[in-house]
């Protein structure tokens, strides 16, 4: 499985609503509200060969309240 993280910035005051919507979709392995500049950090697994970019566009960018996402790919888990 391909594992990746997405840092998510939400519109002001919408963080928990966005997190709840993502949780309802049951597509994320983990969703955390976090300290610092971003609002949420989510971890996802996709089957090898699946398209991470399309997944994000179709499953994260369409959630009302999401403002910006930055994707980090993992190469290996130790």
């Amino acid at each position: 499985m391909q594992c990746f993280f997405v840092h998510i910035t939400c519109r002001l005051g919408r963080t928990y609503e966005v997190a709840a919507k993502l949780a309802d979709r049951e597509i994320a392995s983990e969703i955390h509200s976090i300290s610092g500049e971003y609002d949420l950090l989510a971890k996802f697994y996709l089957a090898p060969g699946e398209d991470v970019g399309r997944f994000i566009a179709e499953n994260l960018h369409d959630v009302d309240g999401v403002e910006r996402t930055v994707t980090t790919i993992t190469f290996k888990a130790f």
Copy 2:
């Protein structure tokens, strides 16, 4: 108690109105107007296990005039 700081950017000219509203709510341990890029620096205490992210969303992000917040968690006081 969990202690954390929040740097707050306000809409132009709204800094003291935001600070006054926060002060009225009596939720912050300290609120300062400050030099530099941010307008306000506030310190909060929550009971252990309380959700800092929800607290910020419900008590800071709903204040009219707040534009952006960045949260810093403290680990230990010396």
Copy 3:
């Protein structure tokens, strides 16, 4: 349990040696090599009330090859 993430920058070419040393210590819940500016992303759990700052200083900063760390605290898992 308190869950937090640490982004780690390693000295050039030392990333996998650092990751292996961290894995040997069995203190991290997850260690990933990652795309982008940082080399590693690790997830840790500490008992409530334990000192995250001391943990990082004593268990991550003493690993030869680590150059810089940035800590992100999670507030809530959805």
Copy 4:
């Protein structure tokens, strides 16, 4: 009293030693180890008219293990 905050970056693994030395000097009102890019956040009070820049140079910059400081002045406490 003039209140100001100083964000402190320490040399790798020296954060708690720096914090302890500062605490021993009994010059800070608060010292916290923190999440994010900086290692420590300290709050100080000086008598009106005292020189904040000289205070930092003489009391913080001479502490072995300190690498960089950024000073934020408070204008008003609400």
Copy 5:
């Protein structure tokens, strides 16, 4: 031929639509959706002496959904 790369930021959720429109125009040598801060990375070849700036203004900036582009020129392929 002059080879150059363009990093493209798209409006939220429009990345694959933009990529498809670019692909339909058959002007890019390669178009990739990517990790990190940008959404797409495209490679183009122009005949020597052709105007890269005009090409981008006329062929990329007019695509609905494109928000910002950053151009990198290649000097030599090894």
Copy 6:
């Protein structure tokens, strides 16, 4: 095949020596010297499931003259 790009910063004046060494290894699909902040942009293909992080550590970070690398993963080619 997994396709990824690496932006490479070299030590002053070592860019073409680094590019030549990389070319000699015949591991990159493309190597370009480029405009802007970075010195080289290289494209690589790995078999699915191969570890990009280890590849970079073992094949790029060991090249004398390389100072820093930033890795961008591609998700889909259009």
Copy 7:
């Protein structure tokens, strides 16, 4: 007297109008149009104990054409 500087960003083409309005108020010790990222740099003096934050909110942020300000406090004049 407390001396401080304010870097001011104005809306496009409004710099000299903003500077003239500030000059008319006769509150600044100096106002300069400047090179670089900001449009204006102004120096102010307040009586000791006066609130710099309130002064900026009431005297600078209410000037039509001001977009953003960053405040730098001086500690000592040599």
Copy 8:
């Protein structure tokens, strides 16, 4: 003569229109479309003592399609 450079960011797709308007005014010594983050780089000469800030506000900021400018002053030509 005082020589200075201005980096110009234009609204998406308006770069060449802005450049043409500037060229029509015959006030710039050079106008280039460029690689990287900015769209145009222009060089100007003013008589000694002329006000660079006013020149930019009146001759560049009023051009429709200009979004932001950053000014660099030259001290000496070698």
Copy 9:
């Protein structure tokens, strides 16, 4: 007279020594220790046509303890 400002970063703990050396030279119109990222902000006046770059190289960069300077030119005083 040409008026310009220089932001100065000093080596840790050397700020007041640098400021004193600059004051002894009697070349600056003003020298302030300041809040924020830089240590000192100095204002200088040169006769029209004098070379600001050479002045900085010969009078500021040779002061032991100076680490970096950023120069801002003023266009007009209001």
Copy 10:
């Protein structure tokens, strides 16, 4: 001819020595000492098809006192 600009950062106090050396080589069309973060801005012309990256490595990076360069390519002169 291919026209490009190079921003040059020099080691502290070496700016005019670097500029003089570059001027002696008679390879630059223009060399300016400048305001802001960089020390020098130079303009070069190369014959079409000549390698800008190699030119910079061989003619700029070998000048003692140069610390870093950033290259901007021009596409079209208006």
